[in-house]
């Protein structure tokens, strides 16, 4: 698996609209054959900080994701909500193995 963690910091007034826009993006993303998981989490210590845990079958799948309508709609919707540029880190899975990933 190709795992991407996206760290997001939004403006305080944008927290609720970011949650909604990102839920919509997650639901759309989970329809893509190349996406296994798309978890959205909000920081306990600072509710303006989120992490998106995106699990792709291969590293060729993120560019396909970025061509989808739901991703493009999300990117446009959240652009004015950002308190700072988002950052990402890329990983491979150690556990579970590919065949056990759900």
């Amino acid at each position: 698996m190709h795992v991407v963690h996206v760290q997001v910091h939004v403006k305080p007034e944008a927290v609720e609209s970011f949650r909604q826009a990102t839920r919509d993006n997650a639901r759309g993303s989970l329809q893509e054959p190349g996406i296994v998981r798309f978890d959205v989490c909000q920081s306990v210590d600072d509710p303006t900080r989120f992490v998106l845990v995106e699990v792709y079958r291969t590293k060729e799948d993120p560019p396909r994701h970025r061509e989808t309508a739901h991703y493009k709609a999300w990117r446009e919707a959240v652009e004015p909500m950002m308190a700072e540029p988002r950052t990402k880190a890329e990983y491979v899975n150690v556990h579970p193995e590919d065949s056990d990933w759900v």
Copy 2:
């Protein structure tokens, strides 16, 4: 859900033994009733960096996890492997909802 991301940086010579010890801990952790997921990922850019994605049913479950034999064995095994102290961040789930988490 109560989601904990643990960031780990190990010494270069400890990468393989850390992978093995952490796989063992993940398998044991997944037997705990309070743990839904225990994913272990390794950085693409820097193989000495890992993130543990631990998904607990409630915030009361992490202290129970720390009392288990597999956690204590892991903590002891990996202590000399650390390049720097590990850090953690705590989250709540925005998507999926609790009932849809697998």
